[in-house]
């Protein structure tokens, strides 16, 4: 017996409605995409859904109280909130440069680093 799963692609603003037919863990067919990102997204979403994420951390000695950060690789979808809470434990001191690595292997995920997404000078 094959089953159907519906996804909405988040690869770009078009948001293609995707249909993935599977039997157990085997993918039989993916339909509904207008570009390759859609097919890739549906496969990834079925096998191991992940999300990029961004949040902020506390910063001392800068113009603002919060420094924006992001992860360099996507984290499992069901660990996004846990990842944010983990990142919020960080506190940094200005100056910080765009791209500075603030934490490596977030939540033990190999290659998922937390980096600053802007430069903040010391004030």
């Amino acid at each position: 017996m094959s089953d159907l799963k519906n996804f909405t692609c988040i690869g770009c603003p078009i948001g293609c409605p995707l249909q993935l037919t599977h039997e157990g863990r085997d993918i039989l067919e993916i339909e509904g995409f207008q570009c390759n990102r859609g097919a890739k997204y549906a496969k990834q979403e079925f096998e191991d859904p992940r999300r990029f994420m961004s949040t902020t951390v506390a910063i001392e000695g800068a113009r603002w109280k919060r420094l924006p950060v992001k992860v360099t690789a996507p984290v499992p979808k069901d660990r996004v909130v846990a990842a944010a809470f983990e990142i919020h434990k960080l506190a940094v001191t200005a100056p910080v440069r765009l791209g500075d690595v603030l934490l490596k292997d977030l939540l033990g995920e190999k290659g998922v680093d937390v980096v600053a997404t802007r430069t903040m000078d010391r004030i």
């Binding site: 909405t8 692609c9 988040i10 690869g11 770009c12 603003p13 948001g15 999300r51 990029f52 994420m53 961004s54 949040t55 902020t56 506390a58 113009r63 603002w64 109280k65 919060r66 924006p68 992001k70 979808k77 996004v80 909130v81 944010a84 809470f85 919020h88 765009l98 997404t117 802007r118 430069t119």
Partner: protein
């Protein structure tokens, strides 16, 4: 950021967000030697600095950047172009000399009140959020009711959380982005309420900001009452029927301490109005020619002050063009006046620019009134373009090539969007 103002300038740009920075770069590229960007905030970059999520730059940089990353690239590029940036300053008036020069009055923390002369001006003041007053929600006036963008600045830059249990009115992208953002900050988001029968945000944002976190989206629903004395205690919501009239028999209370409003943006045109610049009643931005020049010669407009865009990449493209034309104007280059008026027709809410000229390529931005699929854009009898769908939340853009206008003899071009049979 170190402020710098010398002068005289060829081009002055009012506003240092993505539009202003790109306009300044465009002006330099067109040959203007001295360009000044004036911004009221402590640093240039505009609203991008508080938009810490990614999704910017897919068109322009061919990669997905966060707002601060996009802003930093443009600030760096502006400084590389030897553009002066003056923060903590604002333009309090613009006057015209008899020879066409602009006299710009600038109030600045560093230089005090000064008047500087330039050849052309680019308006890039952006837009601001509609507030509770714009939609007149009944009820008390407690704290805890604020616009989504203000909550974004509090949360992402200033380090304040707006509250703990949050309801959001309006499903525009800022509202959706803030729903996810506040969940990541440990808040509970009880729901997003949308007056229209469809979301006003991008589908991808409904998926990755609401669905991923189990936040309910209530369509055709609005807030009917705000409750609480000092602090918001809760809201009442009701589904809406025909004519968006709330069905009060189904009104019910929702417990929350914060209500975010994501109910639209208004171009910030007080300055334009004080200059007597003609505005478009629909976009609420200036009426512009194909060179993005307003009704005041030598004053150009771009970005969200001209019309509200949904992607910063489009702002950048438009602003580079406006800046180039402002730069050319400052160097004494004049184009013949436009000879074709562009008029919105069926299912077209607005189009920008408002006129065209033969002999040039034109970039048209427009929005539809209602969702339609599939459909066709019909530009007079010179051009047709099929689209699989249009929705009001997504700007439609296309180019008109010079040869399409070659044979055109009229002085008015009407644009319609009509349904296509499947």
């Amino acid at each position: 950021m170190l402020g710098r103002m010398e002068g005289p300038y060829d081009v002055m740009v009012v506003g240092g967000g993505p539009a202003g920075l790109a306009a300044a770069i465009g002006a330099r590229d067109a040959g203007a030697r001295r360009v000044l960007v004036i911004d009221r905030e402590a640093e240039a970059g505009g609203i991008l600095l508080q938009c810490i999520h990614s999704g910017f730059g897919l068109h322009y940089f061919k990669q997905e950047l966060t707002g601060p990353e996009y802003a930093e690239r443009f600030v760096t590029e502006a400084l590389d172009h030897e553009i002066d940036i003056l923060p903590n300053s604002y333009v309090s008036g613009i006057g015209l000399d008899s020879d066409g020069a602009k006299r710009v009055r600038i109030l600045s923390d560093h230089y005090g009140l000064q008047t500087k002369t330039c050849r052309s001006v680019v308006l890039a003041m952006g837009c601001r959020e509609r507030t509770r007053g714009a939609i007149r929600i009944p009820g008390t006036r407690p704290s805890g009711v604020l616009t989504a963008g203000l909550a974004q600045k509090f949360t992402n830059m200033m380090g304040y959380l707006p509250g703990r249990r949050v309801a959001i009115l309006g499903s525009g992208d800022i509202g959706l982005i803030m729903a996810r953002r506040l969940v990541l900050e440990g808040c509970e988001v009880v729901g997003v309420f949308e007056l229209m029968p469809y979301s006003n945000g991008l589908t991808r944002n409904v998926v990755q900001c609401l669905d991923d976190f189990g936040i309910p989206l209530h369509l055709s629903t609005t807030v009917t009452e705000i409750m609480g004395q000092d602090r918001l205690r809760g809201i009442k919501v009701a589904p809406v029927g025909p004519g968006f009239k709330p069905d009060m028999s189904k009104e019910h209370a929702i417990d929350c301490d914060t209500l975010l409003l994501s109910i639209g943006l208004i171009p910030e045109n007080e300055m334009s109005q004080s200059l007597g610049i003609q505005l478009d009643l629909t976009t609420r931005g200036p009426i512009v020619s194909s060179t993005l020049e307003t009704s005041l010669p030598g004053v150009f407009a771009c970005g969200n002050v001209l019309h509200v865009h949904d992607l910063v990449d489009f702002v950048t493209g438009e602003a580079l063009r406006a800046g180039r034309h402002a730069g050319e104007y400052a160097m004494g280059i004049r184009r013949a006046q436009d000879n074709i008026r562009l008029v919105p027709g069926d299912n077209v809410r607005y189009c920008v620019p408002h006129s065209l000229s033969t002999g040039h390529e034109h970039q048209i931005f427009m929005r539809c009134k209602e969702p339609m699929k599939p459909c066709e854009i019909i530009i007079g009898d010179i051009m047709r373009k099929k689209l699989s769908f249009v929705v009001p939340a997504e700007m439609i853009m296309f180019k008109i090539k010079p040869d399409a206008l070659d044979q055109f003899q009229g002085d008015t071009l009407r644009i319609d969007i009509r349904p296509l049979d499947r």
